[in-house]
Symmetry: C2
């Protein structure tokens, strides 16, 4: 039997167990710089670089859009580093996460969010998440993650299928 | 006398003495991930974190647009870290840079580029650059830079004024 996800709006508070929301409205520090011409929304993501010879990577992911309904059956995690996604094309996307301590994930363990176009997310190290789920059209995301010596991707099948349906705007 | 800048299109090759262009078309490595749903344009910026207790910062800068013509009279540099800017609102912006070894900067030492909406830039540590110059409207940029113990911003007045005029599209 396929379980259907409740899709929540993305807020910094609801996402806190999984990582950071990267947006001006999630900022806890903001100040004016450059002689008043710019406002700096400061330090929005905890970039984690663990393990041996770790360094930060900046990349662009170009994602094909997912249809609705869309069924997810697996998740992945990166034990040695955080991974941030920031949308570059002003389109919303889905985010599905589960707590890092889980060694088995049932559909009801998964929390699903609709991220708005102005919101990035930063998954903390070890947080289970579904690969990027763009919506509506091919979409580019700036990605900030980690390169190092260790293998840094675990995958796990869900114990059952979880269906995502576009509804919330 | 005010010198008027020649504004060049931004390319990875022309910008190489100053840093990296962050865009899919500047990528030297790209590969498919997530079972074919995503293309990863990999490792687009050399993020430099020098000095004591250095860590990477992810922030958003919200910049007021500059008028045209606009006159610049100073530049700044960050000796202990790179600083990347990636546009989030699909608008072009101006980039003005000079080589890091200069201890005096004349208007003719400054190279000015028009960066397109899909192009980020990463200034390497020590490269002289003008503060963010958004165009057309208030614009947000994702910024990847460095926090650490040392003071990390030098400023220098140009030996003469340099005028930027919007022309190139």
């Amino acid at each position: 039997m396929t379980h259907t996800a409740t899709i929540q709006p993305l807020t910094a508070q609801a996402f806190a167990p999984f990582g950071d929301v990267i947006s001006t409205d999630a900022a806890t520090q903001a100040f004016t710089i450059n002689r008043g011409s710019t406002e700096r929304f400061h330090d929005l993501a905890n970039v984690q670089l663990l393990g041996v010879q770790a360094r930060v990577l900046v990349s662009i992911f170009r994602a094909q859009p997912r249809p609705s309904p869309y069924t997810i059956e697996m998740m992945e995690r990166h034990p040695f580093g955080s991974q941030a996604f920031v949308p570059l094309n002003n389109r919303p996307y889905w985010v599905a996460v589960a707590l890092p301590q889980l060694s088995e994930i049932s559909p009801t363990d998964v929390q699903v969010f609709l991220a708005q176009a102005h919101q990035g997310v930063n998954y903390h190290a070890g947080v289970w998440h579904h690969p990027l789920m763009a919506l509506d059209d091919v979409s580019d995301f700036l990605v900030i993650d980690r390169l190092g010596l260790e293998s840094n991707c675990d995958e796990l099948s869900l114990t059952g299928a979880l269906q995502l349906v576009r509804g919330l705007k």
